[in-house]
Amino acid sequence: MSQHKATDSDLTRTVEAIQAETIDVKAENEAYDRVWHDLSREAEGAPALTPPEVEAGGVIASCAQFQALIPAYLSHELTSARRLLVEDHTRECIPCRKALQAARSGETRAGAGTLGRELRPRGVGPVLRRVLAASVVALVGAVSFYLWTGPLAPAERDVAEVKAVDGHLSLVTEAGPRALALGDWLDEGQEVRTARGSGAVLQLADGSTVEMDERSTLSLRVRRDETRIQVRRGNIIVEAAPQGEGVLTVATPDCLVSVKGTVFAVRLGTKGSRVSVFDGEVQVEHGQEAKTLYPGDQLATHGGVTAVPLASEIDWSRDFDRYIGLLHEFSNLRQELNQLVARPDPRFSTRLLDLAPASTAVYVAIPNLTTAVTEARRLLDERLSANPQLRSWWDENVVSSGFDAQLDELLERLRAFGDNLGDEIVVTLSRAENRGVRDPLVLAEVTNSMALEAALVEEAERLARESNGNFQLQILVDPLAETQGDDADLLVWIFEDLFVASPNLEPVQGIAAILSQGQKSPFVGSEFHAQLAASYAQGAEFLAGVDLSVFLAWALAEEGASEAALLEESGLLDAKHILLERKQTRDEVQSAAVLSFDGPRSGIASWLAPPSAMGSLDFISADADVAFAMVVKEPRTIVDELLELLALAQTGVEAELAELETRYGLNLRDDIAAPLGGEVAFAHDGPALPQPSWKLIVEVYDPVRLQNTLEWIVEQINAELERNGGEGKVQLTRTEVGGETFYQITSSLTGASEIHYVFVDGYLVMTPSQVLLDRALRFKEAQATLLTSPEFQALLPEDGFLNFSALLYQNLGALVDAGLKQLAQAGDALSAEQRQTLAQLDIDSGPSLVCAYGEEDRIRVTSRSEGGLLDFATGGSFFPLLNQQQGVFGSLLPPL
């Protein structure tokens, strides 16, 4: 049977076929009679059928009949329907359940006896298997040695043979990748690479085998007493044959593994290496340390190559003295806030979650920041008193606008409530009957109910007064005795140590009912509750969760809507929940977002590939200001799915595209997508002036084809320009330097612009200048890359992943900070005092890293960045780039 992709029509036809199935009327009527006969016997208490009658298929109507079926039930001789009847009955009937248990225990005992007799003496099996395995390995080793040294030996430099290829295995040569096939030999020093979704097995001359996972790269070197496997990236498993006097080593950039004869795995990922030993003994050297690993042991490393810092050029001195002075003050204030203001501790459990309404669709838990905010204000006041320059700026920009007074009043009111509440405030929204959400509800624990109630009464009076009676706050005594009226805009209920508020009575009554019955909300036990509870278990500060099905249902509420079809194809309709978490320590902010799906990701949501090593990052230096890299699934499939989506979104797109492809003789799928691999990276890696130092790196499996496509595109652009009588022209030139072919595209269309690129090691590296291109190649050669920089390594999240599906790194603060430091050394234009002030500035709020992991049924995004109270108040860490701007310039804003 050939594989077929079922469409919606297939499913509909199958359902219709089931509905159209005919029933034999005679058999149906006979069944009705039989069942009624037995039902009426049951109702009248008729004598049971005899066991033979039951076994013959008669209808079961008594316990004796059920018990007569037990032997057949246990020996799996009953039909599925009869099994169901027996199971159903024994669940409800204690005598029959006991009869079944008795029969089953007898069966188990008999079974155990049989099993016992069949047991073999302990230890013989495994020992025999080990001896056999050792013999096989020794035999393979001996035969390999003979072949290696005998007349059938390969050429002198051949070091490994391709024993298996699943997918695409290629040799990395100067002329580009060359496919390797089964039986091909690998020369010493040659680099071999598996493509995405591919795997391969190499057999070394000594009989050892090396299994390569997808997207792995390695080379081999053989010396008299050492065979070395140099892993460039990816995952390998080594089954080392006995080495005699020699040694087999596996080298990664940050560790060296030595073995005599064993089975072990080496994973080299973006964050470092991990060595896992399955059999034998392995020596691992990592930095100054050496460790022996035994079966079951695992060792992980981190890279530690020190990056060479580069200075960036930027000049933003204007109104110098005042500006620098302010920056200095805000820099100090920021440090004080981070160091002196106590932050709320993470919460590992909460009873508020168990009180959330059954239909909760949105859940937000925020820490009670009253103490921290009050303390921050006190520190700010101290600074304002101590520094006339800052005081002047504050008066001019904040006090004069009235914001300072408003801030004080707001803080006062915040304290009246916040000081009497627990460490967490929860806000929920419930699913509406048809669409959307309803019934906002606020929950918090109360530390001082008398004080809180007094504050509420005062607030109610104030609100009524200020709104001329248009806003009414009602404090409930017994919600269950109340009826919803139109006279209250906000209902508040304080019960023992719990605070509940909502504009609607129903959710408050729901909480009251739960508390009066001493129960938990029906929300407990739902999948959404379980996800939130799991987040609490790991420590929560800010936590938000949304049941996306409620919102995605809007698209489906109107059946037949074209948007629904579009959403369905995009795979986004399968989104289930999204959880956002944010935690802050004294030095950094950790954020995470998890988008979970109801089943494996599909459509656009599946474009992000599972975590994988990223060779493209080797071309990006440690001084990059911004770097983005990601791995995606098969580009051709993405193009196909994208075109399907476009066709759904707008009719005629397919025809237009087909016309364009015919006109220009270019196939988007085959000519552009097909030669590409699954990895892409973009970075700004160098001075921003006079032109941005951007850099694009794309994995390429077929560089020759892609180059042909690029040349064809240039030809078509020029032909089009000529047809339209344009004067500009695009020119593509190539230059051979040191064995590499460098390409340059020059355009005279809108001012002179250039693009330089080269195909190297399976990647297309593209930059705006030849200098940047040369530097990119040098970074890779020297392994002085972003991945090895201490700043980057320090930001790596602590989790079980070695690789990422995507990452976004930024260090824009360093760009600004370095510029200021350079200005401080700039010489004559600045006074000694100015230079000193600049040198003392610390506005570099640090780099940040956002990592994404494409798991089967979810996408997880995490970030780490330096942060402080200001950052917490703005929630900027979910958007690190914006947050960085906040860190640099946002310090000039008031601390809320």
């Binding site: 049977m1 594989q3 077929h4 079922a6 469409t7 919606d8 297939d10 499913l11 036809r13 199958t14 359902v15 076929a17 089931i18 509905q19 199935e21 029933i23 034999d24 058999a27 149906e28 069944a31 009705y32 039989r34 069942v35 009624w36 039902l39 009426s40 049951e42 109702a43 009248e44 208490g45 008729a46 209808v59 079961i60 109507a61 008594s62 039909t79 599925s80 329907a81 009869r82 099994r83 169901l84 009847l85 159903d88 409800e92 009937c93 699913r431 509406a432 009957e433 048809n434 409620v550 995605l552 249902a553 489906l556 509420a557 059946e559 369905e568 309709l573 399968d574 089943g599 599909s602």
Partner: protein
């Protein structure tokens, strides 16, 4: 102590007879659509009404269904919109019992010889009929791999013809949630149905 074991006089036999007379077709046919054969459908019919009888002694569904019917004057026909509440209750019971049968059924028993030999449909070749039967049974088996609630909602919607609104009322959910569950179920079933469709469409 329940009725079967004690064989005590049944107080509701007339009521039971009425319910059985009015709803036996609905239960049997719903079960047949899901199980695909009359033998299993008969067992489901017996299971559903036996449960009703047993529950009667505990004072629940039989009296409850009578109360529901007293409030509901609709005709107990096979059209969901006009069904009484009792009919809907029994329909759900039949679907869930039939799904239980499907879950425990071995795949080997899925093709009935009477249909596989081509005698039922003179228009088709035996092989094609067998394939169609295989696809239908493939869908039935795929239903068992959905979550129970999703499977029930799918069957109510597409086998029994209930509207999203009616299903929402029946299962105590919102119409939008039902729509999402149906969408996801269709998507999942399409994936599961693929291997059965080679060469048939």
């Amino acid at each position: 102590m329940h009725l079967i074991h004690e064989a005590q006089p049944h107080p509701g036999s007339d009521e039971l007879e009425r319910l059985y007379r009015e709803h036996k077709n609905l239960v049997f046919r719903a079960a047949h659509r899901l199980t695909g054969n009359p033998e299993d459908a008969e067992d489901v019919l017996q299971t559903v009404f036996m449960r009703l009888v047993k529950s009667h002694t505990r004072g629940s569904p039989l009296r409850a269904t009578a109360r529901l019917d007293a409030r509901d004057d609709s005709d107990p026909s096979t059209t969901p919109k006009s069904q009484s509440s009792t009919a809907r209750y029994l329909c759900r019971a039949a679907i869930n019992a039939a799904l239980d049968v499907l879950r425990t059924r071995k795949r080997a028993a899925s093709v009935a010889l009477s249909e596989a030999d081509g005698t039922r449909d003179p228009r088709g070749q035996p092989e094609m009929i067998h394939m169609r039967r295989e696809v239908r049974d493939g869908l039935r088996q795929a239903l068992t791999r959905l979550r129970p609630r999703a499977a029930e909602i799918f069957v109510l919607r597409y086998f029994e013809g209930y509207s999203n609104h009616e299903i929402a009322d029946l299962v105590g959910s919102s119409r939008a949630t039902v729509a999402v569950i149906l969408h996801r179920s269709r998507r999942r079933l399409r994936q599961e149905l693929g291997p059965f469709l080679g060469g048939t469409s």
